[in-house]
Symmetry: C2
Subunit: 251 residues, 2 copies
Amino acid sequence: MPRASTKSTASPATAAAAENGAAATDKGSSIESIAQDIATAIVEKRLPPGTWLREEALGRVYSVSRTKIRAALLMLSKDKLIEMIPDKGAFVCQPTVQEAREVFAVRRILESEVVRLFIASARPRDYQVLEQHIKFERTALRQTTTTGTVREKVLGDFHVALAEATGNKTLAELVRELVARSSLIAMLYHSSNDPHCSSDEHSDFLRICRKGDVEGAVLCMIDHLERIEASLELGTEKPDRQLDLVKALLA
Amino acid sequence: MPRASTKSTASPATAAAAENGAAATDKGSSIESIAQDIATAIVEKRLPPGTWLREEALGRVYSVSRTKIRAALLMLSKDKLIEMIPDKGAFVCQPTVQEAREVFAVRRILESEVVRLFIASARPRDYQVLEQHIKFERTALRQTTTTGTVREKVLGDFHVALAEATGNKTLAELVRELVARSSLIAMLYHSSNDPHCSSDEHSDFLRICRKGDVEGAVLCMIDHLERIEASLELGTEKPDRQLDLVKALLA
DNA sequence: GCGGCATAAATTGTATACAGTTTGGCGTAC
DNA sequence: GTACGCCAAACTGTATACAATTTATGCCGC
């Protein structure tokens, strides 16, 4: 699998696990690893949008005090994956339609240039890594054990890997954040996008890159992103926002 | 002045003030306002790159406990304005040459599109706001009381205001972060850029926008950003990094 | 039975206490 | 005189305690 992580922490951050005090993981989890773990849980929809993340419960899960949990939540709130409402708590974000459109607009801007930079600097090794990634997508999509929500993350990772291949870490970091937010958005506005289709588009895209067709590749990427956005139900504001009641009350 | 802030906190975060326990500001400073205040102090060079930000000292300055200070520092570290080194402390960032180049590269990508979006959607009111901003730049630059370091911030604010005028808050937020990092970079690699020159370029830029010359305006913006980057001494890695010794040792 | 108020439980916000690590200084050995 | 090592002061990392706020419960009046 691409980007084999050296991180040691397991992934126990299910809503259920947060409730009962079961899964006690390794004691010395760092703030970063806790934040990363929760972020993964959000992107994989184990913590759906609107979920209330109680600090003490999370503390039990990771066997740490609320201090570290709060620090982790603060980082996630900067990533716009959770929202911290004063005296109320932390909740998994429910991006608005406008915010969703904005995120995809920025992604088109950044990733268009990612494509240009990638083709300009790509070495055989970079293509290998991405081909490998697509292969991984395929196997992940084939497996019946793979939940439909994990697919989003796997597909998003391709875009991150592409950005990382440009060598511009700052750029890659921004793409990573936007891709994570996109996953959240895709779940909120239940994307009707066919994962296999996306994977095929990734494959087609790489083929065009290999030909050195820069503008073709750029258009392919923009098309791809627009297709993803179009597959969302952005026409209707989500009605099932239980938590918006709470937020509305304090306004 | 454009963007009149409703924030109430003063700006006592000088390195000196952090040392002696003098300036006790209003007790109930929120985490956000503390972070914002320190960020402003960094961008205005009252807290130069490499400065060690001791938690207890900052706590005395803002009359809060280390808990809130740590939260504020954590936010700033996400903005890449400070760096938190485990068991060592928080230090004002000293971006590398590569990072500096990356930041400007991303700015060119984002702000090119900012220009297109701005011209496409700009109303008379938007132009007024920006003209006002340039007028403010001029008076700020004329005043002898204005330190050379404040000028960087004022000039950077123009780019933020432009991004905000596009209506895409997500985009504007990213530009804001990158502009702040740019200010830090400009100070580290003592920019030889003439502030008056930059202000003139802002003025010229707006004129081109008014004509509706989209591509001309885009090129003007890219030129402007490249001129800023070119005025930096990015050829030589900064030798006066006292703290890099520390960082090198723990590697 | 239903609405409203008082009270109690639960949860977040903040400060403080304590443990672990680093840093600087002093003293001693060589 | 210099280098090494030990000890103390200072600082960060984390947990815990307490205050403030919110939310749930139950009681009473109607």
